[in-house]
């Protein structure tokens, strides 16, 4: 907690989806919820960028939407600058939405085809009642390297290339001068030749503006250009957390290993073995409390039926796996998140009070 209060903090955040089918209702059965996000604890500090990595269906998009305020969490709490979002008033939500901006995955569909670049960038300014529109629009276009702005400002999306469109959506996120950016796979739809320039732009912007970034992706080979820290997510839970390069070089959780080993390598002289993992991830419904990767895990043991603790493996990597702790010794097996929450409990509550007083 020495680096100050995190900008965003998630404490055991849960988002369950409950779908009661007609059949269940007639038979009076309780339905099992889909545990899309199951007790995720995360801190995002100032000028830090953390990544959430996982395959489709792992809950990363649900997590992002919950962070945007599009979904109500069904459990746990989310703090912005120390204040729980569940206690936000309408004006606080408005302020939150100004300060926390999103860059979408698909620049081809996330821009209004009937809006010029100017219209796209003016809309958020109008919504949030800011003035000096032209000046702000010019400045932000310069910042995302759409130079000279005059050349781009009156264009429609169809007159822009994929990379240029993504620059416009980055400009749209920046124009309200946010302090947190939520990035939803911002380069996955782009050609490789433009991917690198967008990644460089994002990391430069973070540095210049002191932004914090929450970056979700399924692509582990590009995250290292943006993220300091990676959280590997599997079926709603974070299974490993470590500095990005550490995860890539020395993954600890069997799922992280499988994920990294499956990335194709652009080198014909490198002999990579094909994955040994069978099958596909199921929906996170009715899975019991044990490790969610157990059915596909090559290291499966009997104890995997129990929920693994999130333990410090080697001082750098934290993993939620029974392989990495001595189950007899309570000390070695301390759950990192639980411990942190206990420590942060007092200070977190105080900070919340202070913000409330302002």
């Amino acid at each position: 907690m020495t680096d100050g209060e995190p900008v965003l903090r998630l404490e055991k955040l849960q988002k369950y989806f409950e779908e009661v089918s007609l059949k269940d209702r007639i038979l009076g059965r309780e339905s099992e919820p889909v545990k899309a996000v199951d007790e995720v604890t995360l801190d995002l500090r100032e000028n830090e960028s953390i990544g959430v990595i996982g395959e489709s269906g792992c809950g990363k998009t649900t997590l992002l939407r919950t962070l945007m305020g599009l979904y109500q969490p069904t459990g746990g709490e989310m703090y912005y600058n120390g204040k729980p979002t569940s206690e936000f008033s309408k004006s606080e939500w408005q302020e939150y939405r100004r300060n926390v901006q999103i860059i979408f995955q698909d620049p081809f569909n996330s821009l209004d085809p009937k809006f010029t670049v100017r219209d796209t960038l003016r809309e958020p300014l109008q919504v949030h009642g800011l003035d000096n529109h032209e000046e702000r629009i010019h400045d932000v276009l310069n910042e995302v390297q759409l130079n000279p702005p005059e050349q781009y400002i009156d264009r429609f999306p169809k007159q822009l290339s994929g990379g240029e469109k993504q620059r416009v959506s980055i400009a749209r996120a920046l124009i309200l001068e946010p302090n947190v950016i939520l990035a939803d796979e911002p380069v996955s739809m782009l050609d490789v030749s433009t991917q690198a320039s967008i990644l460089t732009l994002l990391s430069d912007l973070m540095e210049d503006r002191g932004l914090s970034m929450f970056y979700i992706s399924h692509d582990l080979s590009t995250v290292s250009y943006i993220c300091d820290e990676i959280n590997v997510m599997y079926l709603g839970r974070v299974v490993e957390r470590a500095p990005t390069k550490k995860v890539l070089k020395d993954p600890k959780h069997p799922y992280s290993k499988a994920l990294i080993d499956a990335i194709p390598v652009p080198d014909p002289h490198y002999d990579r073995d094909r994955t040994k993992i069978e099958g596909a991830a199921l929906d996170p419904v009715d899975m019991g409390s044990g490790c969610r990767f157990r059915d596909r895990c090559p290291e499966r043991m009997d104890i995997c039926e129990k929920k693994p603790r999130f333990v410090d493996v080697d001082g750098e990597s934290i993993a939620s796996c029974h392989l990495y702790y001595d189950h007899e010794s309570a000390d070695a097996a301390a759950d990192v998140d639980e411990k942190r929450l206990a420590e942060a409990g007092a200070t977190g509550a105080e900070a919340a009070d202070q913000v409330g007083d302002d």
């Binding site: 395959e55 990335i263 390598v265 994955t275 993992i277």
Partner: protein, 347 residues
């Protein structure tokens, strides 16, 4: 490349689309050869013409598309003039089959997969229903799905399994050539790897050739023998993967490789190729990479470079660039910490 007769040869093929703005040239003077039993990767960015070539090979070019010039020979026979009926009778499924993009809507959602297989068999062969089902069951085992599941509906499969079921369909009538158009783009990495595991196994058998069309050069480097790199309708460079990796001589080809992230070297700077591919209207008489190429000279905009054997290479390695040698040297000089230095540093 194998000495045997090539299965597919493209010779100076130009394909155009009629648009309201005139004739749009999607593929211009493209040439490459695929040997028997060979896996061939066709790589390039969106709009480079790779999917147009795929569609042309199975006679599924859009209505406004025409093969303007050039020849396409399949097993020695020219097919560029084939009609819809010719394609159906002679080629589709039993000679050339296709694995389309790995999206979830390639199978009919309201028909059992087995029924879809039977339909294909009845249209293209004399197989009986029982024979067809037996053959299809065998193939499900080849691609790692329980044979009892041939009677499932597509929605009962996960994305990776559905793509494997499509591979089973593609292999169904024993084709000699499979066109795989971004077969795993919609899949997660682990499933992608599962799919390629089966494509590797099919390759071991050695009877089928494949054209793997993808934007992901790593997949080609891992799974193919030869490669052609395309930029905006033109084949920039073609050869075996070892040569193209070790000695690329077209600026687009070495810059594209430099733009590819490799998770083994997370600190490596990625190369950026400025600009975007042009839209080529009418006849293309220049290098289509000229506007993006840092090594371009006047000559490059005056005529289209021919795809010619690179003399230093002992293998079949063809490059379409006026400045290949100079450009390569300049590029090497501009990269002080080359790959090799990093590999050593990493160890």
């Amino acid at each position: 490349m194998s000495e045997s007769e090539p299965i597919l040869e493209l010779d100076d093929v130009t394909i155009q689309y009629r648009t309201s703005g005139g004739m749009l040239t999607a593929v211009s003077d493209a040439s490459f050869t695929i040997g028997q039993g060979e896996y061939f990767g066709l790589v390039g960015e969106s709009g480079c013409g790779k999917s147009t070539i795929a569609k042309t090979l199975i006679g599924a070019l859009d209505d406004n598309g025409i093969i303007e010039s050039g020849t396409i020979r399949y097993k020695g026979e020219e097919i560029q003039g084939y009609t819809e009926a010719d394609f159906n009778e002679e080629l589709r499924w039993k000679e050339i089959s296709m694995i389309p993009q790995g999206s979830m809507n390639n199978l009919d959602p309201i028909e059992k997969i087995s029924d879809q297989a039977i339909e294909i068999a009845q249209v293209h062969t004399d197989m009986t229903k029982a024979e067809a089902l037996e053959r299809f069951e065998e193939l499900f085992e080849v691609v790692g799905i329980q044979k009892s599941r041939i009677n499932d509906y597509p929605h009962q499969f996960s994305g990776g399994m559905e793509q494997r079921a499509i591979i089973a369909l593609a292999l169904f009538l024993n084709p000699s050539l499979i066109i795989a158009d971004e077969p795993t783009t919609a899949l997660d990495v682990i499933m992608q790897d599962q799919v390629f595991k089966y494509l590797d196994e099919i390759r071991e058998e050695g009877d089928v050739s494949m054209v793997l069309i993808t934007h992901d050069i790593s997949l080609v480097f891992e799974s193919c023998d030869d490669i052609a790199i395309m930029h905006s309708g033109q084949v920039a460079e073609t050869g075996d993967i070892g040569t193209i990796y070790d000695n690329p001589r077209h600026p687009y080809s070495f810059m594209l490789q430099g733009a590819f992230p490799d998770h083994r070297y997370p600190d490596r700077d990625l190369e950026v190729i400025e600009g975007h591919p042009p839209e080529n209207m009418g006849e293309v008489n220049r290098c289509t990479f000229v506007d993006r190429c840092p090594y371009a000279v006047e000559e490059c905009s005056e005529s289209a470079p021919k795809l010619e054997q690179y003399e230093e290479s002992e293998t079949d390695h063809r490059v379409a660039c006026f400045r290949s040698e100079d450009a390569y040297e300049e590029h090497q000089r501009s990269m002080p910490d080359s790959d090799t230095a990093e590999v050593q540093g990493d160890d």
